[in-house]
């Protein structure tokens, strides 16, 4: 069963890595993805707020994780996603996949991230020196997701 967690509180990606890897003598390949709040000199961001659809957000991520588990024959998969307001550098999302095979672990984490980006009910609002704006969805994210449709 995939472990999916939604929370307002920050979490520690290193501690999550070690907890997930504990007692895994039977599998050899672990892949994690960590997405953080980005702020650059070109596009400074002072905070990012994630709105979500409670219930459905968790259900969608669980669905993608279960699909990944089956499709890539993973040993385990976990996803943690924050909502609420966070600062640059803070972790928004983390996906971890475990498999006896390296490519399956990469594909599993990649698959969940691609679906999560476009089909999990979260919306990002950025605040910066110019005020606030809702982040627009990117066509490249749809393309990334669509490569898994077959």
């Amino acid at each position: 069963m995939p472990r999916v967690r939604l929370q307002a509180e920050p979490f520690d990606p290193g501690a999550e890595t070690n907890a997930f890897l504990k007692g895994r003598e039977e599998t050899g390949a672990f892949v994690s993805f960590v997405g953080t709040v980005r702020s650059t000199p070109d596009k400074p961001v002072t905070s990012l707020t994630l709105e979500h659809y409670p219930g459905m957000a968790e259900a969608q991520i669980t669905r993608f994780a279960e699909e990944a588990l089956e499709r890539f024959k993973l040993t385990d998969i976990a996803a943690i996603h924050r909502f609420g307001t966070m600062k640059p550098g803070e972790v928004i999302v983390m996906v971890m996949a475990l498999s006896p095979h390296r490519l399956a672990a990469f594909d599993g984490a990649n698959f969940v991230m691609d679906w999560l980006k476009t089909d999990a009910p979260f919306w990002k609002k950025e605040a910066g020196p110019q005020g606030e704006n809702w982040v627009e969805a990117k066509a490249t994210d749809d393309t990334a997701r669509d490569r898994w449709k077959s």
Binding site: M56, V93, P121, V135, A137
Partner: protein, 83 residues
């Protein structure tokens, strides 16, 4: 039937949801959007670009041609930007 709104749809409507009782001829999500626009100026403006509107029926993503009969909750929101 319950309607819930998210992100800029919620902000522009200035509320997070409505309780509605559409007539029988409102069959699909698309019909529902037409009916909402007919009855409410702010909805009419909001729904001008229909491609920008996503819908979920009882927490499942659905297309605009999906039926709404028997739905408990219809959610309306812009394209998702999680992760």
């Amino acid at each position: 039937m319950k309607l819930v709104y998210f992100a800029w749809i919620r902000e522009r409507l200035n509320r997070s949801g409505d309780e509605v009782d559409p007539p029988a001829e409102v069959v699909t999500v698309s019909d529902l959007l037409d009916w909402l626009a007919d009855g409410d100026e702010s909805f009419a403006l909001l729904l001008e670009d229909r491609k920008a509107i996503r819908a979920a029926r009882d927490e499942e993503l659905v297309d605009h041609d999906a039926p709404i009969a028997g739905a408990g909750t219809i959610a309306l929101f812009p394209p998702m930007t999680g992760g």
